[in-house]
């Protein structure tokens, strides 16, 4: 399985782009949160974009990751986006109600 690395976290303009791994679960959550937060403290980052292009599985740990990042940037007016989410991932975002705070761009 494809491993997530620090290269999957990039700041482009004022957005932190996070390319998520094939499976987002508790096992991988720590590394994702840690690396995201390291870049979120930078002044030039306002928005976070989660890229689900390679992601085939996500459980509530992924919801925890997104909620946590949302809390960190929402108070400064930042927004959270989800891109390339397939049907299953969109379902997870719907069931959790996260689609109300995250802009899902298909």
């Amino acid at each position: 399985m494809e491993q997530i690395s620090t290269e999957d976290f990039q700041v482009i303009d004022n957005c932190l782009m996070i390319r998520l791994p094939e499976e987002v679960d508790h096992h991988r959550a720590g590394f994702i949160c840690e690396n995201a937060d390291r870049l979120l403290v930078r002044d030039d980052v306002c928005n976070v974009v989660f890229d689900f292009e390679n992601t085939r599985f996500m459980d509530s740990s992924g919801i925890g990751i997104i909620m946590g990042r949302y809390r960190k940037i929402a108070c400064f007016g930042g927004k959270v986006y989800a891109i390339h989410a397939d049907r299953q991932i969109q379902r997870i975002l719907m069931v959790s109600g996260l689609n109300k705070i995250v802009e899902v761009l298909v």
Binding site: F31, M58, Q88, S96
Partner: protein, 168 residues
């Protein structure tokens, strides 16, 4: 076509986060001969993942799930020993999954099942675990005793996916 079958399996594995993916894939593989839809498979994998993650984090208090590219662990990542047990039973088109641990257990199961309730907000847990199990399976029962462990029993009727697809 659903055949009249009865098929049972049992799995026992260490309560470490590395096994979360193994557990959900194993259960998905167990039902694969029923030709489940992608949606059904995804539902089962999500529910199993939630229950197994709960057993690892809360049951045995192995908080850290750090899959690092270098494979190293931080010094604060204490690993408590313990096993998570999964039993699956297929009866015709009904899948019963039981996931149990012999960990710390819970005093208030009802509170634990409330959406967004979490005892570990510092771990970035969403508190959606039980809500997901309920949403993606047909039936959910939780039995827990403090100091003795927790058992989660879930049931899902297989082979209704085609019908749901055609309704949509």
């Amino acid at each position: 076509m659903i055949q009249e079958i009865r098929n049972e399996m049992e799995l026992s594995f260490d309560a470490i986060s590395d096994n979360e993916a193994f557990a959900r894939v194993a259960v998905a593989a167990f039902v694969s001969h029923l030709n489940p839809t992608l949606e059904e498979l995804s539902d089962i994998k999500t529910a199993v993942s939630e229950a197994v993650t709960n057993a690892i984090i809360h049951g045995y208090e192995n908080y850290y799930g750090y899959a690092r590219p270098d494979g190293k662990r931080l010094p604060e990542e204490v690993i408590h020993p313990g096993k998570v047990r999964i039993c699956c039973l297929l009866e015709k088109d009904l899948l019963h999954i039981s996931i149990s641990d012999q960990g710390v257990g819970m005093t208030d199961v009802e509170q634990a099942m409330e959406p967004l309730f979490t005892t570990k907000p510092e771990l970035e847990r969403s508190g959606m675990g039980f809500a997901f199990m309920e949403a993606f399976m047909d039936d959910l029962e939780v039995e827990s005793r403090p100091g003795q462990g927790t058992t989660v029993r879930m049931t899902k009727k297989m082979g209704v996916g085609d019908w749901i697809d055609s309704e949509e």
